[in-house]
């Protein structure tokens, strides 16, 4: 047996159960098509209840006479509910009597009766209804498509609102954008399951099982795609990175522009869009400079000669940091000095107010500090012979 065999069996079982209806459902039913019999003007449903009794629901204004004939010919108890607009009749009998009772019913209606077994379940067919339980008309397909369209439009609306909000407050917009992957998963899941319910006319549980079975089949057929989808879900829940983060992943550095179900998009500092499969992200190391925040700590290194006035140098570098238009000055800015063999190393550490402006921040500070060093005649390390 191949290692994937149990998975395949499970998948087929789920699909079969979903196709036949809910595996936990207490009722199995067949449908009698409309107008096939004079007595049955709308629908006839036959249920096998958990207590092993068969229940026949007949609806239609002209049924009363017909069902009374059924009752007379089969000797079954008949209950007539007269308080509903249309006459609704319930005919109950033991499961063991079902074949004969239903056959009588079919004869009265002038349609066929068939008893058959499918996947271990005993089913009854009255009339000319197809075995395919998912008999759907164009209306149901349109409704299903409409639900998917609504989901798509909702997500577009969400994206638009996030973009708008980012113009008002980048921080708040970014927070809302972080919900994006989760919102996409939830909206699409609800939309797909609802569409399945509508098109196949099955219960929510059956729709979930059907969708799950379908996904599982898809998983077997397209393993890589599934692995990436699962990784996308993992990213949405485990959140090793956020949209807007400046990250290094799989040897690529850049800002996360979007986290999809299959892949994640980065924009590198040289404005190249890189698409990384989600599986690579979940399996690899992710380094995030800001991890969900808008600002990020940036370090800028300068070297000056050993004889430079350290106090003056620190003051100039510190002022260079806190006076930069890109500095998030509400967070601490610090200047560290250390002695190295050929020079004094000065490391300026401060937060850039928006991680997208990291390079501009470095350039701005470096430019102005170098000018200030020049004006103050701060000595640079001499080149070694």
């Amino acid at each position: 047996m191949s290692p994937r065999a149990p998975l395949r069996v499970l998948c087929l079982a789920l699909l079969a159960l979903a196709t036949l209806g809910c595996p936990e459902a207490p009722k199995q039913w067949v449908r009698m098509p409309q107008g096939d019999a004079a007595d049955v003007s709308t629908e006839t449903h036959v249920f096998v209840t958990p207590d092993e009794r068969v229940q026949v629901h007949l609806q239609g204004a002209t049924l009363r006479e017909g069902i009374e004939r059924v009752a007379t010919s089969t000797g079954l108890a008949v209950k007539i509910e007269a308080d509903v607009p249309e006459v609704r009749l319930y005919v109950s009998f033991d499961a063991a009597d079902a074949p004969s009772a239903l056959r009588s019913l079919a004869e009265v209606g002038g349609v066929t009766y068939e008893r058959y077994t499918e996947s271990g379940l005993t089913l009854h067919r009255v009339g000319t209804a197809p075995r395919d339980l998912f008999e759907s008309g164009p209306y149901h397909f349109f409704l299903g498509a409409f639900l998917l369209l609504v989901a798509y439009l909702l997500l577009r609306l969400f994206g638009g609102l996030v973009n708008r909000l980012e113009q008002v407050s980048r921080e708040r917009g970014k927070k809302l954008r972080q919900l994006g992957p989760l919102v996409r998963v939830v909206v699409w899941a609800i939309a797909v399951v609802s569409a399945v319910m509508v098109v196949l006319r099955v219960s929510p549980t059956a729709a979930f099982a059907f969708t799950g079975g379908g996904l599982l089949l898809l998983g077997i057929a397209a393993r890589e795609l599934t692995a990436n989808l699962l990784a996308g879900f993992t990213i949405a829940t485990d959140r090793p990175l956020y949209v807007g983060d400046f990250v290094e992943v799989a040897g690529q550095r850049g800002e996360v522009k979007g986290i999809g179900l299959r892949s994640t998009q980065l924009v590198t500092p040289d404005d190249t869009m890189i698409t990384i499969p989600n599986k690579v992200i979940t399996e690899g190391v992710v380094a995030s400079a800001n991890y969900g925040e808008v600002d990020a700590l940036v370090e800028i290194t300068f070297y000056v000669a050993h004889e430079a006035d350290v106090a003056q140098v620190r003051s100039l570098v510190w002022e260079g940091l806190v006076t930069s238009a890109y500095c998030a000055w509400r967070k601490p800015a610090r200047v560290f000095v250390s002695e190295e063999l050929r020079a004094t190393k000065v490391v300026a550490a401060a937060y850039v107010y928006d991680v997208r402006h990291q390079r501009r921040f470095v350039t701005d500070v470096t430019h102005r500090v170098k000018e200030a060093f020049g004006a103050a005649e701060v000595p640079y390390p001499r080149p070694q012979p």
Binding site: L165, V168, G292, D295, V369
Partner: protein, 400 residues
């Protein structure tokens, strides 16, 4: 690093407000110049009769605001610190707040408390333009305080320590620095002089709110002051109270809807409010007293036939929506205009490291959109009604 559950909860709790903001945000919208005339208190009240405009000038509004119960504690604290100094103790006060929120009222109160003592003199220093070098603070200070000799820190400190006890009010101290390398020398000199002379001098610094926030964050500024008072943006109830008080003075000249009807029972009379009007006034002015005065006067017309004021609804002016359409340099220029309150073209060029022509072009654009006005001095300032809202927006964008 965000905590997952708290983070999610925080996001969800804000979501409704966020969507509301997002739905309402229309960055493409631009100002309608016709709506934006008369953006100073003088201009706004120019066509009103003298008795009406006098009731709503800045001094009258500030005087009325001083009576607010909510500000009593602040006044008490100020008086306590001043009296402590008068008794021979060291003290220093910083008065912060946005322009138009009544910082001057606090300075007047300090001056009047000091005036009760004949032994202590009062001196005022005012810095209308940006100073960066130490000498740019020390020399005018020596001149204003009547000190002799070299304008060095040591010389001035020695003379102040030996001289009479005095209160020195430094107005517009937010001009004692510039956001550039080497731009903090004047402020350092001021703080050093202050620290060296606290035995004999009560220093009172008047600083813009955003400048104070910046300086407080990047330097140990707060350590120098015993008391930091922020002139607040008023709540809607306080704003109503101030304006109702002024309207009552003009009872004969104003529509009666602003005052409780005579036959109203006493309990209801106490709580009677023109709620809708003042709600709009508060929302439009962000609680800035001067801004509210401007908007109130702009909505007031004088009817010759009725011999009475007619007060129209406060207009909604969506100027702030235009902000997000400005380029980043323009937003930075606005941030500097808010922080320093007034800037010249040269100041702006120095601050943003741009050419004079570029700076002028930015200032012209902002003035054309009525976001700023050109003052008689040739300098530019943000129009008061928009000051609080612009500050909030730029702060949200981490630009201010």
């Amino acid at each position: 690093m965000p905590q997952d559950s708290g983070h999610i909860r925080g996001i969800l709790s804000e979501t409704a407000a966020l969507f509301q903001t997002a739905v309402n945000a229309r960055p493409e919208a631009h100002v309608a110049p016709a709506d934006l005339e008369g953006l100073s208190l003088e201009e706004a009240s120019a066509e009103l009769p003298q008795q009406v405009s006098a009731a709503f000038d800045l001094d009258s509004l500030n005087a009325s605001a001083r009576e607010l119960e909510s500000s009593t504690e602040t006044w008490t604290q100020i008086e306590k610190v001043v009296r402590r100094f008068l008794r021979g103790r060291r003290a220093a006060i910083a008065v912060t707040g946005l322009r138009g929120t009544g910082r001057q009222a606090y300075l007047h109160r300090i001056a009047s408390t000091v005036g009760e003592s004949e032994e202590v003199g009062l001196s005022r220093l005012r810095f209308d333009s940006i100073r960066t070098g130490a000498s740019e603070f020390l020399e005018p200070t020596a001149l204003a305080l009547g000190l002799e000799g070299e304008g060095t820190h040591e010389n001035l400190a020695a003379q102040l320590r030996e001289g009479p006890r005095r209160v020195v009010v430094v107005e517009r101290a937010h001009n004692l620095y510039m956001r550039k390398i080497g731009g903090f020398e004047a402020l350092r000199a001021a703080l050093a002089l202050m620290a060296a002379t606290l035995e004999r001098v009560l220093w009172v610094f008047e600083v813009d709110r955003y400048a104070w926030e910046y300086l407080e964050q990047i330097s140990p500024l707060r350590d120098y002051f015993d008391l930091v008072v922020e002139a607040p943006l008023l709540s809607q109830a306080d704003l109503q109270e101030v304006f109702e008080r002024q309207i009552k003075e003009l009872q004969e000249d104003f529509p009666t809807r602003f005052l409780a009807p005579k036959d109203l029972p006493e309990p209801q009379r106490e709580t009677w409010r023109e709620v809708g009007f003042f709600k709009r006034l508060h929302a439009a002015s962000s609680g800035n007293l001067e801004a509210a005065g401007i908007l109130f006067c702009r909505s007031t017309r004088w009817s010759v036939q009725l011999k009475k004021a007619v007060v129209l609804p406060i207009p909604k002016i969506p100027f702030e929506e235009a902000l997000s359409s400005y380029p980043r340099t323009t937003l930075l220029a606005l941030a500097m205009l808010v922080e320093h309150e007034e800037l010249s073209q040269k100041d702006l060029a120095d601050l943003l490291l741009i050419s004079a022509g570029h700076a002028q072009s930015i200032l012209d654009t902002l003035a054309r959109h009525s976001v700023t006005s050109r003052l008689a001095s040739g300098r530019y300032s943000v129009n008061t009604p928009w000051l609080a809202a612009i500050g909030t927006h730029l702060s949200n964008w981490n630009i201010l």
